[in-house]
């Protein structure tokens, strides 16, 4: 089957071989769960429990606080021991609810299964998604219920499941497609119902051929759901590039997928939605790929939210000795971590261990033009970085700096090792 692609991007070793054949392993709950309030884009929820409260796994501990917000649940049975600042994967400490685990066990206190979801009103499904605290689990953390509501005046025709998983090392979506195929399909159908989409697509990069087979068998009976095979290229999984490849439509600058009649959700988000609607299960755990170099047992682990990184690394055979880089997320856009006590949050898709890479950075721009050739958005990263460096707000805006999605392709190829992404982030902040 011919694969489709988009312009720009980079072809890199995907290092999936370390974990793509490792079945998902469920780890026991941690002795303490550290649940940061900020686990979604938009405004963080407000705590509704106090220190000393006894909570069940699945119980609401923080309620939504605005139009773009989500719900936070206890991920373990136990007692709230603190509400205080704690390390956060984004790098800065932020307030977290700490629960001392009382009992292990897979039970949860949740909501009623929506048995009749196929006939349910879309707003009811969206309400359930909000109640379950589901956010984009591919890394963005955008509250899922907001995406399921098309903006006024726009219709969503196609719901797309983003199974590109273009970041190297990560294999969460791949394993879910293999091991929970029916759940992914169910999640897509629920999404289609909630958004009013007549058509569904599961878009898979061609390095997941086994998952594609599974999917096609599961979709045999479905008339409105198709698979699309994608070229293996980073960042194929970026929303705009995905839609360009799948539907041959460009989301307008400053616009949303809804502007081209589409809606995109990550594979794990789809399984979480299926769990919430079919089983009444709120979002209290997720699958994380632990991979990189120097690990004895890299793998894919299902852990309760709030599990510290140290437990995941132990399960993978412990980090190697010596200095290293620990990345939360993928190596292209992930955040380097400094504290093993940092917890897994809703959008933590992976933990990647890399050796240090000392090199001279931010040498002068050679004007070689490599960054232009790889930019999937057609920008001129070297000029954007220069404008940002000089504080030239108008120049930056004129060069469409706001359209940068910070994929990192430019910095990857830059021979002068310039921190292009960071300069562009600086430029975006100039606008404020």
């Amino acid at each position: 089957m011919k694969t489709r692609s988009f312009q720009g991007g980079i072809r890199i070793d995907d290092f999936k071989r370390f974990t793509e054949r490792k079945p998902i392993e469920t780890l026991p709950p941690p002795p303490k769960a550290y649940l940061p309030l900020k686990q979604n884009a938009g405004s963080p929820p407000r705590p509704v429990v106090e220190i000393g409260a006894e909570v069940s796994a699945g119980e609401v501990i923080a309620a939504p606080s605005g139009a773009v917000s989500s719900t936070l649940h206890a991920s373990v049975f136990g007692k709230v021991s603190a509400i205080a600042d704690h390390p956060h994967p984004s790098g800065a400490d932020s307030p977290a609810i700490v629960i001392e685990t009382a009992a292990a066990g897979n039970g949860f206190s949740g909501m009623e299964p929506m048995v009749d979801w196929e006939g349910a009103a879309p707003e009811d499904i969206r309400a359930r998604v909000l109640e379950a605290g589901i956010v984009g689990m591919g890394g963005a953390g955008f509250p899922a219920q907001v995406k399921l509501e098309p903006p006024p005046g726009k219709k969503i025709e196609t719901a797309v499941i983003n199974a590109a998983e273009c970041e190297p090392f990560l294999t969460v979506d791949h394993r879910l497609l293999l091991e929970e195929t029916e759940k992914v399909v169910a999640g897509l159908k629920i999404i289609m119902r909630a958004a009013g989409a007549a058509r569904g697509v599961v878009a898979v990069e061609s390095n997941k051929a086994d998952a594609l087979d599974r999917l096609e068998r599961a979709l045999e009976k479905e008339e409105n759901i198709f698979t699309v095979l994608l070229t293996v290229k980073y960042p194929q999984g970026a929303e705009k590039q995905l839609l360009k490849t799948v539907a041959d439509r460009e989301v307008p600058s400053g616009g949303l997928p809804a502007d081209v009649g589409c809606l995109v959700h990550n594979v794990h988000t789809a399984t979480a939605i299926a769990d919430a609607v079919l089983h009444g299960r709120p979002l209290i755990e997720r699958v994380v790929t632990v991979s990189g170099f120097g690990l004895d047992r890299p793998g894919n682990f299902r852990v309760r939210l709030g599990t510290p990184f140290s437990r995941l690394l132990e399960a993978a055979g412990g980090p190697p000795d010596g200095e290293l880089r620990l990345i939360a997320g993928g190596p292209m856009t992930g955040v380097a971590q400094r504290d093993l006590g940092t917890p897994v949050i809703k959008s933590t898709s992976g933990l990647v261990v890399l050796p240090p890479l000392p090199r001279a950075r931010n040498l002068p721009c050679l004007r070689c033009g490599k960054c232009l050739t790889v930019c999937p958005m057609g920008l001129v990263p070297c000029d954007l970085a220069r404008a940002a460096e000089k504080g030239r707000r108008e120049d930056f805006a004129g060069l469409s700096g706001a359209d940068c999605m910070e994929c990192g392709c430019c910095a990857y190829v830059c021979p002068a090792a310039r921190d292009l992404v960071q300069f562009i982030q600086l430029g975006k902040a100039l606008e404020e």
Binding site: I12, G91, K240, K244, E250, V251, P252, S253, G255, S310, L313, E314, G318, P319, D321, E323, L324, R325, I327, P331, M332, G334, A336, D339, L340, G341, L354, L357, R359, L363, P364, L366, R367, C368, G369, K370, L372, T373, C375, M377, G378, L379, V380, C382, D383, A387, E394, G398, L399, S400, D403, G408, A411, Y412, V413, P415, A416, A417, V421, Q422
Partner: protein
């Protein structure tokens, strides 16, 4: 690390992306230097010891000048990145075989100190340093720079010791018997500057750079293509003999200029379209100079003139931004 994990460990916290292509400035520059080796070999074959001493003088002067200036600017030494060596070699390639070594050194000092460092150093210079150095030397010591002796292998080309031993010079003076055969022009068995005569050697190096993705095909293709087209279509100026497009491509500094100097990343446009426009401009100017100009050469001038236009070309040849429509020729205000 087995057993219980401490929560604090030595982590390097650096910004994303955490992966890197492996392409560095030294890698690029030294690879270009390596790609110049065939031309260097050709220069020694055809011009012998004279070529070697000029290259040594130019490279040494370039490296020392850059080191001294780095110290004066209180900056870390940059000579390890290979760019000074490349500039020295390219400058030497642009010199006739009999100029004194001090002239080569003077050109290199000017190229590095004025054309490159005074503008801000690597990445900030507007003009090609080697060509700027050559121009300085050509206009300061005019007669030395226009005196050419034939190559060591001249007998095989049927030439004897004459002052107008370059193919272009001969064509300009309509001295048909002194125009070498196309084959000799291709391999480099002609009079001329020590590194520019052998189109074959230059092309070999160019192919290497192209296959490794270090230069784009666009500038050489547009440059050579437009020279070929224009020299084919346009009549030659009075009193001169017309050369065929291929003869034009293989003579003078065109091959060296199109493959190694017009492709210098710092001084040329950044986008693909811009590179084509740049090559086209160079080709047009070179063709017009060669056909109608006072001087039979035109490559150095054309590249330097186009270098000046690079920022403007960059402004008008930006790629289309994803999710937008191209709005005519004039870019938005920026």
């Amino acid at each position: 690390m087995k057993g219980s994990l401490p929560t604090k460990k030595k982590f390097t916290v650096s910004p994303a992306p955490h992966f890197f292509s492996g392409r560095t400035i030294p890698k690029v520059m030294w690879t270009v230097a390596a790609a110049l080796l065939p031309a260097l070999a050709a220069s020694v074959i055809f011009f012998g010891w004279r070529a070697v001493r000029l290259q040594a003088a130019a490279v040494a002067a370039a490296v020392v000048t850059e080191a001294v200036i780095s110290r004066l600017r209180r900056r870390p030494l940059t000579i390890g990145d290979g760019s000074a060596v490349v500039t020295g070699l390219l400058l030497a390639f642009n010199l006739p075989p009999d100029v004194p070594a001090w002239l080569a050194a003077a050109g290199a000092v000017f190229a590095i100190a004025v054309v490159k460092q005074a503008f801000g150093g690597l990445g900030f210079n507007i003009f090609n340093p080697a060509l700027g150095g050559r121009l300085f030397v050509a206009h300061s010591w005019l007669s030395r720079m226009t005196t050419f002796t034939p190559p060591l292998t001249a007998e095989t080309a049927g030439l004897d010791a004459m002052t107008y031993a370059t193919p272009l010079g001969a064509a300009r003076e309509a001295l048909v018997e002194r125009i070498p055969s196309l084959w000799n022009m291709f391999i480099g068995n002609t009079g001329g500057c020590i590194g520019e005569t052998s189109a074959l050697a230059i092309l070999l190096g160019g192919m290497v750079l192209l296959s490794m993705g270090y230069i784009s095909w666009r500038i050489p293709a547009a440059y050579l293509g437009s020279v070929a087209l224009l020299t084919w279509l346009l009549p030659v100026g009075e009193g001169a003999v017309a050369l065929s497009p291929l003869e034009h491509l293989f003579s003078g500094g065109l091959m060296l200029g199109a493959v190694f100097m017009a492709t210098d990343m710092v001084t040329t446009p950044v986008s693909g379209k811009g590179m084509l426009a740049f090559g086209l401009g160079c080709g047009t100017i070179t063709a017009v100079f060669r056909l109608y100009g006072g001087n039979p050469e035109g490559v150095s001038y054309s590249i330097l003139i186009m270098n000046a236009f690079t920022p403007l070309i960059d402004r008008f040849t930006r790629p289309r931004v994803f999710g937008t429509l191209k709005k005519g020729l004039w870019p938005r205000k920026a």
